[in-house]
Amino acid sequence: MTGRKLSFYLLLMPLLLTLTLLILLPQLDMLGISMRERVSYGVYEFSLLHYREFFTEPLYWNTFLRTAVMSILATALTLLISFPVAWYIAKIAQGKNKNLMFLACLIPFWVSELVRTYGWMILLRESGVVSGFLQWIGVVDAPVEMLYNDITVMTGLVYASMLFMVVPLVSTLEGMDDSLVEAAYDLGGNHFTVLRTVIIPYAVPGIVSGCIVVFMLTLGNYLTPTLLGGKDSLWFTEQIFTQFITRFNWEQGAAFGVLLLCLSSLIVWLGLKLSKQSFKQALASET
């Protein structure tokens, strides 16, 4: 059995190396950088200056809150919009249609986020397709600019997340035996009570896993708010990029990174607690 021992260590090593060198140490390093202040060239001191900066500068924490709220809202909207579609694919569509619809839901995944966002820009800009269509049917008589506002950003965010909600929902709902619904009706339920008491509780694992992934992707999104929201979109990831790339203020950027990570962990943790799901389960149903 020594051969088995040896192969165990050989298999363990790549994982440990990846985890330490690419996740744990970099994250700790980021935390370290966020808590230091440059005194002079190459000389640093421990300081919470960059966290203080965050709390005293309204722009920063406003952006932070706004990002959090918008992300939660986008997640909720995505769930609302996707659930009926997932149900349709899982339970109503049959045979070839079903496969086709499912594949169609995956299309956005196969197309770069950049291309998708670009598509929305062409649709919604002043000289865009929607504006042109509205003029043509006579609803408006001059071009309308639909880019650069919160509703557009929200549309883009929901659009970008849809697939990550539909897929886990479909796979959870497909696992549900139709006779559960039939039994519930047979025992006197109506559409609403069956949905509330049978279907949704059954779908919780899919809902949670979809929501976690969608929330994370939205919170960390950069392209959609920047391209569809324009300069004033006020998204927190933009702040991080600005600090790192434009201002070369890595300490401030790292502090923002740590804060964003705390926020996302907190919200994911709350979500898991409220739905009584484990982290492992929630992510396992993603595939």
Binding site: P84, Y118, E286
Partner: protein, 282 residues
């Protein structure tokens, strides 16, 4: 509700219309991008000026099509190389991880598994900046103490590959583990029982069984890498991958060449998707 439960026609109609609208919403931006790559106009917007393939093939002062745009072609090649490395690395790690988690029991397994899942819930930006700061830290230390400048620790292709590899390998691990879980351990025991060595069991039973998942996750890894933006933006050095090049151009102002590149990308991903579906069916 399910077909066996009676409900009003109006509800059914509304439901069907809703689902149709959803798919229109899903496809509209993609269709628009493709259509306007063939508009005979210098802006990808209305009015429709007629059909042209200039934005793909033309090469003159006013119009330089995609196939004559050196910068874009270079960045496509950069992206392809990154994606290839990421796919190979991710799938390799995914196979070893899957074997580790599905075939061995050891102390701290659950903890390690949760750690392995972590990259899925860390925003890409943060993965990017943490790796950047960590590797720069090392590079600076080495430069200060030994005077050596280690190029690969500075923003550039190797760092992009590592940054993407972190979360793409997690995805691949999930896919390949799921497949391995479905392999009855009796299969491997049967092979052992018929006289195969452990290594032979792996090459003749386990690996062939994993093949569809390996191909599938390699394709997905390739695409995820090719399309990645957030992590890549932070870690990119002088030769920028395609998404970064496109983003820069988009901020300068859109031209139909961007539509043409996008359309090409869609065609490429579509082809890749079809190939992987075809292979996995077989």
């Amino acid at each position: 509700m399910i077909p066996s439960i009676p409900q009003s026609r109006a509800f059914q109609k509304t439901y069907t219309v809703y689902v149709c609208l959803f798919f229109m919403f899903l496809l509209a931006p993609l269709v628009v991008v493709a259509v306007f790559s063939m508009n005979d106009s210098v802006f990808p917007s209305l009015p429709w000026e007629g059909f042209t393939l200039d934005w793909y093939f033309a090469d003159n002062k006013e119009r330089r099509g995609l196939f004559h745009d050196g910068a874009i072609q270079e960045s496509i090649i950069t992206s392809l190389m990154i994606a290839l490395f990421v796919a190979i690395l991710s799938v390799t790690l995914a196979i070893t991880n899957a074997l580790l988690f599905e075939r061995y029991d050891f102390r701290g397994k659950q903890f390690l598994y949760s750690l392995m899942l972590l990259p899925l819930v860390i925003p890409g930006v943060i993965l990017g900046i943490s790796i950047l700061s960590f590797s720069s830290g090392i590079a600076n230390t080495i430069e200060d103490s030994y005077g050596l400048d280690l190029e690969f620790l500075r923003p550039g292709l190797p760092l992009i590959v590592l940054g993407q590899f972190v979360f793409i390998s997690t995805m691949a691990t999930l896919v390949i583990s799921a497949r391995l879980r479905k392999l009855d351990t009796a299969m491997e025991e049967a092979a052992l029982n018929l006289g195969a060595s452990r290594f032979e069991v792996f090459t003749t039973i386990t690996l062939p069984w994993l093949k569809p998942a390996v191909i599938g996750s390699a394709v997905v890894a390739f695409l995820m890498s090719f399309e990645n933006f957030n992590t890549t933006l932070i870690l990119a050095g002088s030769d920028s991958p395609l998404t970064i090049t496109l983003f820069d151009r988009m901020r300068e102002g859109s031209t139909p060449v961007l539509n043409a590149v996008s359309t090409l990308l869609m065609a490429g991903s579509g082809a890749l998707a079809l190939v992987s579906i075809f292979i996995q069916r077989k």
